[in-house]
Amino acid sequence: MRPILVLIRKEFQQILRDRAMLAIIFIAPVLQLVILAHSINTDVRHLKLTILDQDRSSLSRQMAAALQYSGYFDLASTPLSLHAAENQIQNGQASLALVIPQHFNRDLTLGRSPSVQLLVDGQNSNNASIGMGYVTAILQMVSRDIMVERLAVSGRSLPLHLVEAQTRIFYNPNLESIFYMIPGIVTVLLTITTMMLTSMGLVREKEVGTFEQLIVTPIRPGQLLIGKLIPFAVLGFLELALVLGFSIVLFDMPVVGNLLLIVLAVALFLLNTLGSGLFISTISSTQQQAMFVAWFFMIFGLLMSGFFYPVENMPDWAQALTLGNPLRYSVSILRAVLLKGSGFTDLLRDYLSLAALGIIILGATVVRFRAKVG
């Protein structure tokens, strides 16, 4: 036991002395949290809309006003022609252009169901489709109101009863995407500190030659391994506390579920990241190599984790791939526990998968490490 404590103490001495390392561990998470939380926003607002009103009727003005005050759009300057509206999309002043044709009001009054034209910049397909949805929904509301109004004016009652959905959102009532992001950010930060720093830490000992020096001492390979893993596991938990603490204080993040479940998930997740970190260090001979490999796996794991894009939206083969991705389970468990308050039994499958992956990765690494050292 004692040699392990000696190794752990030495590791902390080194970490505390390395300013760059300290910054990566303690300042980067806070910066990332603040910046990512504010910039990664899947709520689509402030879409730039331009409206070409060729009708200039009370109805067309009513439609324009409904769009303008919906809160989703920023209105660009009014174009004078279709060509001008197209130009606004071309040069980025607008991403959506609504064209209300001449005689729109008259045609509607005559019962001809006229149409409006919507020009969309499709570069960002996500924003484009969400914007189209907003415009369509708002226009439908407007036309329904008009219909009801006109029927009332003509003294008749509405012949049809529309189905109206009463929406109540559970688990993230204000649909704040930041709360959706925090579990992902926690996962990224844990991966950086535990996987990347572990892999580089051990490779650095190889580079400097201290690794060989340690092997000729009475320290056993197993002790060496544990002495290397524990400090980074401790850092991982510190990081977790730091990010969750900041999220609660700074963003009023509600913690619905049991924190112990979070700790358990992170502990299992760390088996995976520490294991991969050590594995990378057994296949790399320089810190650059280790960093490159770690980055590759991290980016790949991140994109396939459901952090940015829901796993359910991926093609089947990609979904199958994510089953071997520890980041996926970390993101989904943290989300479910933090936002939804899911219990252990609800997440049993995710926990078991994370544990199984961790044991496989760490086990394979220990075997490889022992073979190389012994």
């Binding site: 004692r2 000696v6 092997i215 001492t217």
Partner: protein
């Protein structure tokens, strides 16, 4: 002299090691006795480091046998580790820890009790004269100081056998001398030292040496005797222009290539009298200046150069 001179600390018999196609050690044999300073002498790439790494259990041999303190380094490495100090060629301590912290760390790794740890650290700092630098980071030390710190760390558990891999390569001459003085102290304390070096002047400071080249033993014994076993005689030419002189004297009276030694040139010859005459004549003809031409004692380097120029004998 020492009490148990006959005890064999390290024995190596027919040891072999290959890295893929490259045979680093072909057939290595040597014996290191208790309390002696044993030098493994040879140029870079002769297999010295490979041999040391085999002895400490960092490599597994391809054939042959080794015993260190009576144990097999492959299967009983754990029993050897606590009694052996190994200092690799490259400085391999923690550059971001201070001198004192490095010493403390290795003291703890070797499970030295706290009270003794302080005493030992104190003693080693004094003995290596690193005391004033104990709070300096190891990475910021000069080359010589680094080597002294590395030596101190390998001595922290008072090993019976010290294995040093080219401890003075890349170290300035003053530090080199100081380092060897420290090794003298260790010899007085009865520590057996196995040291490798490419420097022939350091070889002369060892009790016994083995000359190695291309993974094989060329000669072994007491340095003076190894040098004296030189089968030819030496003619020395002292000159202010050694390079040109060596070139001009190549092949004179059947001497082969002339060897440069600072301000002098050595010729390996069979008939000294004939050669003294021929050499003088050739230098005068070439209009090269010289201060003296005379017979000299063969040095270890002469012997070494002679040995490696021999056509390779049958394996």
């Amino acid at each position: 002299m020492k009490s148990n001179d006959q005890e064999i600390i390290v024995s190596v018999a027919g040891l072999q090691k290959s890295y893929g196609e490259v045979e680093a050690l072909k057939d290595m044999n040597l014996e290191v006795r208790a309390g002696e300073r044993f030098g493994l002498i040879g140029p870079d790439g002769s297999g010295k480091t490979t041999l040391l790494r085999l002895l400490i259990g960092l490599l597994v041999p391809g054939g042959g046998e080794a015993r260190v303190l009576g144990f097999d380094p492959v299967t009983q490495a754990e029993k050897i580790k606590s009694d052996v100090g190994y200092m690799p060629q490259r400085f391999s301590l923690y550059p971001d820890l201070t001198v004192a912290e490095n010493l403390q760390f290795f003291a703890q790794v070797y499970r030295i009790p706290k009270a003794e740890r302080l005493r030992l650290t104190e003693r080693l700092l004094k003995f290596s004269r690193l005391g004033p630098f104990q709070d300096r980071r190891a990475g910021a030390l000069s080359g010589g100081m680094k080597q002294k710190l590395a030596l101190s760390c390998t001595l922290i558990h008072t090993p019976r056998l010290l294995i040093l891999d080219e401890p003075t390569t890349g170290v300035d001459p003053v530090s080199r001398e100081e380092f060897w003085n420290i090794l003298d102290d260790l010899r007085r304390q009865g520590v057996t030292v196995l040291v490798t070096t490419p420097y022939m002047d350091e070889a002369a400071l060892c009790d016994r040496i083995t000359l190695v080249y291309q993974g094989k033993v060329l000669a072994s014994g007491i340095p003076d005797e190894v040098a004296a076993s030189f089968p030819r005689r030496i003619v020395q030419v002292f000159t202010p222009q050694p390079q040109e002189t060596a070139r001009a004297l190549a092949g004179v009276c059947g001497s082969g290539a002339a060897q440069l030694f600072g301000d002098r040139v050595h010729l390996a010859v069979t008939d000294v009298d004939v050669c003294l005459r021929e050499t003088r004549a050739r230098l005068i003809a070439a209009q090269l200046p010289f201060t003296a031409i005379r017979e000299g004692k063969p040095s270890l380097e002469d012997m070494f150069v002679h040995l490696i120029q021999q056509p390779t004998t049958n394996d």
